[in-house]
Assembly symmetry: C3
Homo-oligomer: 333 residues x 3
Amino acid sequence: MTLQAPLGGVRDDEGDWPIAAAMINFPGVRRDGSAVQDDPPERWADTIAEVARAGFDHLDPTDSWLRIADLDPSRLDEFVGVVADAGLRMVSLSTSRRSILDPAAGDEHLAYSHRVVDTAAALGLEVVNFGLMQPLTAAQQEALWFWTEPGPRDPDDPAVRARAVGGFRELGRHAESVGVLVSLEMYEDTYLGTADGAVRLIEEIDVPAVGLNPDLGNIVRLHRPIEHWRSMLDTVLPHTNYWHVKNYLRMEDPATGAVLTAPAPLELGVIDYRTAVREAIDAGFRGAFCAEHYGGDGLSVSAANRDYLRRVLPVRNRVQRERTGAAGPGEPR
Amino acid sequence: MTLQAPLGGVRDDEGDWPIAAAMINFPGVRRDGSAVQDDPPERWADTIAEVARAGFDHLDPTDSWLRIADLDPSRLDEFVGVVADAGLRMVSLSTSRRSILDPAAGDEHLAYSHRVVDTAAALGLEVVNFGLMQPLTAAQQEALWFWTEPGPRDPDDPAVRARAVGGFRELGRHAESVGVLVSLEMYEDTYLGTADGAVRLIEEIDVPAVGLNPDLGNIVRLHRPIEHWRSMLDTVLPHTNYWHVKNYLRMEDPATGAVLTAPAPLELGVIDYRTAVREAIDAGFRGAFCAEHYGGDGLSVSAANRDYLRRVLPVRNRVQRERTGAAGPGEPR
Amino acid sequence: MTLQAPLGGVRDDEGDWPIAAAMINFPGVRRDGSAVQDDPPERWADTIAEVARAGFDHLDPTDSWLRIADLDPSRLDEFVGVVADAGLRMVSLSTSRRSILDPAAGDEHLAYSHRVVDTAAALGLEVVNFGLMQPLTAAQQEALWFWTEPGPRDPDDPAVRARAVGGFRELGRHAESVGVLVSLEMYEDTYLGTADGAVRLIEEIDVPAVGLNPDLGNIVRLHRPIEHWRSMLDTVLPHTNYWHVKNYLRMEDPATGAVLTAPAPLELGVIDYRTAVREAIDAGFRGAFCAEHYGGDGLSVSAANRDYLRRVLPVRNRVQRERTGAAGPGEPR
């Protein structure tokens, strides 16, 4: 088995980067109490059709919507069929708030994460995304924007940290053995909460298949002082193998220390994704992207984010597509 | 006479929802002191041409721009001709800041409102929009955004409230008798200022032709704690028969209690109109929309709001249009 | 020599206004320490190709990127060739932070400004842009948005002010003698920091070729009380001969005095450029525009700003283009 480079992906400069829709805008439990996990395939198809209508050709079945790793084989087949029927493809599988350090459910999450790796391998996916964020607190759930309230914090405890390293190493070796990459998502107040901390964790894990997802939107939206996004990106790029992209307006008033943030399209927020993407590609990043947006109509803005990303991806890629007459969905026509 | 359902409108699922331009971005009195009310038709035509160039096919002649109910018959004919010549149609007529409870001008406004109903009937319009908001205070006029200063408040006085109920009942019965719907606009600090309060008022009025305009933008822009837009929408949807749509960025800092808002396109603001519109249609809403935006270039953003709305209106509607080969102005091409 | 009108430009109503890309999003010194000033033409070409790909047909070689007035003749020829090869044209040349009042480098900047005038004349450019803003302070450089920290201030000193008047008069006469306009950029805390102050300075300079660049974005982004943009525009329009356009979200909370701002596209910010542009054209403005945006992906938003501007430029202009079958790059298709 030829393992892909730590920077992720098999595509070369001329390839077309996959830009997947995250499913974070679709809750796993509906207001009537019904769970997507128990849906007949027709209901999955409705949701996936909405994603396809928004112009996506790739989907990341984020597990806050549906845990495909917990479907039995015939149901998983049905799901795969639904995705294919909608003309969509999958290259990644993101988990959300399934920390292997969760005080209540950490062991369960570790076992589940192994199933996620196996499912990714079975479906031929390139990468799975894990993180250390835990379920929202009550205050976070009640807030207009959950990131304005403090969430759970990984403790400053070497024994706990060792469990994180050990768990991810175990998952990474498993993933490596089946030809799948593991991407760890940056998220505040976890061991993956700063650029330096995230890189230290990756180095301690020390498995080539394990890299980072520099989801800098998670950081720049915080109502507190933060490291500049560009400095964070410099630090984490050499380890990046998958990328959740989202952006925020960020306002700071030095006179009072006030910080206020709001969700914004990739093109309009504080992170300059034109520069970020160029530097990533220059550094060798060949992984997949996943377009996210919280707040308001997340699917529409995620679609705009995908189109924007296609416009700023390297021109060699675009020229190639133009030559073959195939325009990406977000290309200027 | 067959009165339309309380949810408004005559169109069915396959119909094309009218999305009107509000005229709120065009002041009724110009900086040189001249009044639109006194304009020759050619000047009306200039303004309406600008609306048509922005891609609208429907117009709500909001009375902050022009009180068409106060035009004499020959002038009204001229106005109707100007609108038709521009290729625009009207299905609604919105009043603004003409509260029948206005301490100084309430009776006058009630009489005017009856003329509005008659004018709507004469022109074959579907719905008229009334509200209880009063003229801006001096502090509101001086503020960058008027909603950041407190405005007039309907008193906690049963006698005044009874006048509101009585006046709207009278207007509703008049409207019903001529085949027109009445929509009451949600607006803070009036008897229509909360979802529960608005529904209570509708129930007290108790005339099927009288429903609500859930102009939630009026609420989510306030610099104070508010009910979540989705909870408000749940409450008012069963009574909704017309809809002023606009959106805002809303930032809250739980640590300090600070709230700051700014006008935003429908697609980018805190209200998820994709979800809101779907739930309204599912609940049976078939009324007209009116695209609004305050702040900066209101007409351009209203046009973007119209295009966005067409993208998220139910797909059955869109599929139908695609089949007939007619693409809506906001359709992805 | 026929000097152009003080309002700038040679185009008439039917002409196509040039809308240049500013080069403010491209630093003059790269992170590796290399200077654009020393680049071989191929590297300039890479950057200019990126601007062309963003859809621009005009370029303002802002001197924070490259001081073309300091290139020797053969290098200047190379630069002109690179611009032409990319299909771009130049009509303006903006300087940035080269105040002739700079305590350390004022005299040097005056000499440089004369070279800028000569270079503009040699290349047949219409206008050069000067200002009184000085280099960012350390606190400004460290701030997320530099305008949230106070910068250098022109002193309340008649002798210093007289030097500004004298210097700009000298530059204006020079420019006039070679058929070039001088535009002075509004910028806070300089003698060009308020609308009234800017007009007073222009009147004291008293040279027809010297006018104003009403870069109101510089003012509306400040975290302090400001004059309303429309009142500022009224004051400065009669003297406007070039226009850096950019926009900001601006939020004010009267209850606490808090002001927060963030960069926004022209269409979405607090300045209504539809109205501003119409009033400028009505007042006789025929100068060039320069599309700017700080924050996030400045080039992409500048491109959107250009497209927006084309949509709101007077319709006579657009109708003309439609008749000839040539659609501007930002025209609705």
